[in-house]
Symmetry: C2
Subunit: 308 residues, 2 copies
């Protein structure tokens, strides 16, 4: 049997990636959610995105959100930036962990930022230099890493091309995003394995969506290759813009539940996290897709019913 | 990397295990569902349960359902029987594949059939003899194999005790049921491994519920141990009686989607199965938990949206 990591570092992305795909919520609700998350033992929170308000109105209040958050000393907060302008805003706001997204699929990248994948990769060196000069780190998130909703399959080579471009540009770490939930375990095993060969030593996090139900199976495949860095979203906040009603990111409490039951330390208090998932449901005013939020952890037993 | 099976035999349990946990539906709806499933390439369907109508009113029309089903020559239909009386009814109706459930958890077994686990195991030899004399086979399904909603943990030894009892009584195959979705991959690996050691050569199928989101991760863990026999329920029909709104069985179309994408042959036409999941939703009049039903297979691409 393959050896699994002893601990996993989860990045909570509900406040950014999750809320970006939901109906807009008030600034105060975002602040409440981030502050509640910071009290669960989660050590990394993707808090905001410094994108143009016209592009993603849900994130227009990034500066306000960040000003109102009660910064916890043991939590690292990160910000997504689409370009140099966004990075300048994030650095000015005091962020030390920045992320930039480039899609491995040309069609998807053009739809998002109106340039080809190669053009976006070509801008990474300037961005990395700016971020490093500001004393911060830059993570390259390669999106549509296991498939594109427009193009279908995305080859391992397409993904590695972007990853190599990022490494050459000086990014500090990589993450692969399964943007619309098209990964399955064998695809995960293949891409992670080839990345390890192509870019040994490069830190790699994985970002799965549960759009087709395979999210935790993909996590289990990655664990067996030693991956110990996963994104997840409280309550399963977020959705898939191309499939109404479909699930978004894997739910943080499902990830923590599975890992802790497998003896893998996450540092997160599961019951506290489930409470925050309940808060997220109330803030959104809709039922979120998390199963563990409905059923509770396996330690939550019930009284026997009458015999049949 | 562990080698995975080249093909998997899925047993569709929506008409029995799924519908048993749903509000009662008319006989005609059950017949329509079973007949639609038999045209998808599914080769095994758990069709009915011959339990006492007072125990499970949802299954009171088992004989009527079975009389009206259009039996497909390439499909094996199975029936669940609680005892000798049920087995006699099933054999009289012409079933050749019978299943009996014993819970590894004493409290759960008492709540279901008003006797201890050992008492139920003690009745298996008579049942197996009757079934074999009728020219049929008997599978022992060990429920609460990874945990009990009343007792919590269920030890591997408790499960093996029931499994060994079944083997000694002459049952033809085993299945382990994760009745309320308490399994995680390491637990699956442990129990399957110890069962293989304890009962080499005994056919073993697995029956997962997605109550806590780990269903397909558990399947992936089992595949790596060579398990090639899984239950699933179309649309994810069914639920958890102890957690309102929680998911039931793993959804058949999610299982087929994942396996086929991993290069494992199921013989099932995924698009046809998704159609039947849609039918199941219409028959039940509620949204079912299947993600693949919402999002479609990964081959279903969409047109690019306007650039942001």
């Amino acid at each position: 049997m393959n050896e699994l990591p002893q601990r996993v570092s989860m990045r909570e992305v509900g406040p950014r990636d999750g809320l970006q795909s939901e109906d807009p919520v008030p600034t105060a609700a975002k602040v409440e959610l981030i502050d509640a998350l910071s009290r669960t033992g989660v050590r990394r929170i993707e808090a905001v995105s410094f994108v143009h308000p016209r592009a993603i109105p849900q994130m227009a209040d990034a500066d306000d959100v960040w000003r109102q958050v009660t910064v916890a000393p043991d939590v690292t907060y990160s910000a997504l930036v689409p370009n140099v302008r966004g990075a300048q805003r994030a650095l000015a706001a005091g962020f030390t962990d920045l992320e930039v997204v480039v899609s491995a699929s040309d069609t998807h990248n053009r739809a998002n930022v109106n340039r080809s994948t190669d053009e976006s990769v070509g801008e990474l060196a300037e961005l990395a230099e700016l971020v490093h000069a500001g004393g911060a780190t830059l993570q390259l998130i390669v999106s549509t890493a296991w498939g594109c909703p427009y193009e279908g399959d995305v080859s391992v080579e397409q993904v590695l091309r972007v990853a190599r471009g990022g490494a050459a540009a000086g990014v500090d770490s990589l993450a692969y995003g399964d943007t619309t939930g098209m990964a399955t375990p064998t695809r995960v095993t293949r891409l992670v394995g080839e990345t390890r060969s192509a870019l040994p030593g490069m830190p790699l996090g994985l970002h799965f969506h549960n759009t087709r139900g395979t999210g935790l199976a993909n996590v289990y495949a990655a664990l067996q290759l030693g991956v110990d860095d996963f994104d997840a979203s409280v309550g399963g906040l977020g959705g898939c813009p191309y499939a109404p009603g479909a699930s978004g990111n894997i739910a943080s409490e499902e990830l923590v539940y599975m890992l802790e039951d497998m003896g893998i330390d996450t540092g997160v208090d599961l019951e506290a996290l489930i409470e925050v998932a309940g808060l997220a449901e109330r803030l959104m005013g809709r039922q979120l897709p998390s199963q563990v939020l409905r059923a509770g952890p396996r330690t939550r037993t019930t009284a026997p019913t009458a015999s049949a």
